[in-house]
Amino acid sequence: MRPFVFFGKSSMNEYKSKKQTNIIWKFFRSVKLTLFILLILAVTSILGTVIPQREGIMEFARRLNPDMFRLFISLDLFDMYHSIWFRSIIGCLALNLIICSIDRFPGALKLFRAQPRPDRKKPFENLPPEQTFIVREKQGKAAERVSSFLSRRFKNVYTAGDQNSRSFYVEKGRFAHFGVYIVHSSLLFVITGSLLGSFFGFEAYVNIVEGDKTDTVILRKQKKPMKLNFEVRCDKFSVDFYENGAPKEYRSDLSFLVNGKDVKKMSLLVNHPVQFEGVTFYQANYGSVPGKKAQLKISRHSGKDDEITMLIESGVNTALPDNKGSFQIAKIEGDFMRMGPAVLISIQPDKGDEIQFWVFKDSEMIEKKVPGMLGRFPKLNPSAFKPYTFYLDDIESKYYTGLQVNKDPGVFFVWAGFFLIIAGFYVTFFTSHMRIWVHLSNMKKRTRISIAGTSGRDRVRLDRELTHLTGNIKELFN
């Protein structure tokens, strides 16, 4: 196998920058600095996966001694990736990239623009014997054949020479010299995009109960509320489950309102965010909250034979059976005192003071666990207002949808960077500037033909191309 030749190496030697000798410039154009920064970034990134970031800090902090804790705080180690020092390292990488590229770009441009030189001798040094052969034809005729063959295969054929010796030069993939510049500038796009996002964007969340609307979301980082220019209403939330109980799909039907008027309706699913006025909504989670209604049973004696069932909205005054006064539901709790759903009943008797007590849904179970407890406290006794006993059948529950609400004006740059990085990789790794020389020299009635080439990086493809060309040209003379 022949040694690899990089245009990288040769360009480094041939195009030493003359103009800049400034120390800072020298420092930032060095690839050694790149290596150093890449390692530093790798090592510091590891830190951030070991030290808890943002979440779980408190538990971790308890295990540190106070001095260490203060040190960690002052170094921003609990939000490392957004700290000034981490960003400075990335800034150095960006500067390194920019200066390195500016420094080398003229070299690449020179190679890209290089005048074709058909009469070079150097490529033919150390030519493997199989790339030279002799044909029984005069040089002039042979040159014509080779010329027409080459112009069929390559766009431009350059030629030089005379009766005794003729040279042809063809090439492809000049653009390959720019591949690395595309890759490197793509990184700048990504870095710019992420900075734009962190300065001009936000990450927030909000929970909206079915039927409710809001214009305020809570910023994740600062834990502060923030007002949007519009309102969002959750019209409906639904979950589908697989047979084994695992969730299959979440869906929120949202309406967006500007100045109180419905402007747009959209359905939100996991993996299918929706966007309104530059703000993107994602389905993050869901849950249920007690609604405004509860179903109560009221019996006038302790037995259950004469009970009445009512569906009552919280805060609405309702007459007691037999008209001995009125009552209302003062509060509805999804889990009161860790004993399950409960409602606070407030009774306004015909005579006397208001009476309030809690009624639990799971009162039978509570009674079993702690016998007599509910009877002991008037506040917890469902029979506190004689002769009535209250039972809570159920409270209406409503879903709320948990939305992640983001704005990121840098995303476009990041996507552009991603696109460029792929394009740049294609150019860098899958194309190469391949240059091929065909030399014909006169040997009286015969002609000696030699074929040589150079390539940027892709020695393998060059060798294949050369073998192919040699075969084809030999065939021309059969």
């Binding site: 196998m1 040694p3 690899f4 990089f6 990288g8 190496k9 480094m12 690839v31 050694k32 790149t34 290596l35 890449l38 390692l39 970034l41 790798a42 990134s45 590891i46 951030g48 996966t49 070991v50 970031q53 779980g56 990736y81 992420s194 990450e203 697989y242 084994n244 695992a246 969730p247 299959k248 799909e249 979440y250 699913l269 996991v270 993996n271 299918h272 965010p273 993107t280 994602y282 389905q283 993050a284 992640q404 609400v405 983001n406 990121d408 995303v411 990041v414 996507w415 991603f418 990085i421 792929i422 990789f425 790794f429």
Partner: protein, 279 residues
């Protein structure tokens, strides 16, 4: 299920292939090498069929999805890719000695998937966040990348072993390993494939995260570790531009790089984060 039964047998097929490659290197007899290639090829065909079968079975269960969604399936695919890339490399270089250093990765991955008590081979339904076409491209690109880095790891070991060689030893095992410069170039090319695929994997992953969670990058441990691996391999690629940084040092950094990849793959499950659902 049939597919996981076949897959567990393939572990032994790959182990057999490894032993044959080893036998070839110890005895210097080409016959074992050809047999090893044949066994590997048969294993790979069965492996492919089993993966397709698994896909079909998941559809028959009514929860059809491409078989790339949990640790078991990813390990199976990882082993498949290593074997596939290895066979291409064997065919392109016409050299079988790589088998000894690469096939162990394939059979270890298969053995871990099939016989570890912590890994379930059941076909599970997809949770909503995983229902995305990006998932398929993300997993495929990442694992082709990981597999290429695995092969680079094998080549690096070969490089370090070959360096020990002394002509006067006349050791068959060391002699049949290709020359250092060939190994170095090959390693470089494999790293390029790996770097390319890892980059694509990170890109598809962040596009997917953007559509599922609303942020293309959240510094969750798995993301961060894949970035760390990426940085290490960017380091390796650039280190060739600094004089004297070929060869041994590159091989050592491929070691470090592959350790990071393995940590990205397995270690991260011990740190909490978004990706921990993939357990």
């Amino acid at each position: 299920m049939l597919n996981s039964l076949i897959l567990s047998y393939i572990t032994f097929v790959y182990f057999g292939a490894f032993m044959l490659y080893l036998l070839m290197m110890v005895t210097g007899k080409d016959f074992f090498g050809r047999l090893a290639t044949f066994v590997t090829l048969v294993g790979l065909c069965a492996h492919t069929i089993a993966i397709i079968l698994r896909w079909v079975e998941s559809h028959n269960l009514g929860i059809g999805h491409a078989p790339f969604s949990n640790l078991y399936e990813s390990l199976i695919f990882f082993a498949w890719t290593i074997t596939f890339l290895y066979l291409i490399m064997e065919w392109r270089t016409k050299n079988r000695t790589f088998g000894v250093f690469v096939m162990p990765l394939a059979f270890l991955a298969m053995a871990y998937a099939s016989f570890s008590p912590n890994i379930s081979s059941r076909i599970q339904p997809l949770i909503p966040a995983l229902k995305s076409n990006w998932l398929i491209s993300h997993v495929i690109t990442c694992f082709v990348g990981y597999a290429a880095f695995g092969i680079s790891f094998g080549i690096s070991i070969m490089y370090l072993v070959k360096r020990l060689d002394r002509p006067e030893w006349k050791n068959i095992f060391l002699r049949v390993i290709p020359d250092l410069s060939i190994l170095d170039n090959l390693n470089y090319q494999v790293i390029i494939i790996g770097f390319l695929m890892l980059t694509l994997g990170i890109i598809t992953g962040s596009v997917w995260a953007h559509s599922a969670w609303g942020s293309y990058w959240s510094w969750d441990p798995k993301e961060t570790w894949s970035l760390i691996s990426w940085l290490i391999y960017a380091f390796v690629l650039h280190s060739r531009f600094v004089r004297g940084w070929k060869g041994k040092r590159m091989a050592i950094f491929c070691f470090i790089g592959f350790s990071c990849v393995l940590f990205t793959y397995f270690g991260v499950n011990y740190l909490a984060g978004l990706h921990s659902y993939a357990k």
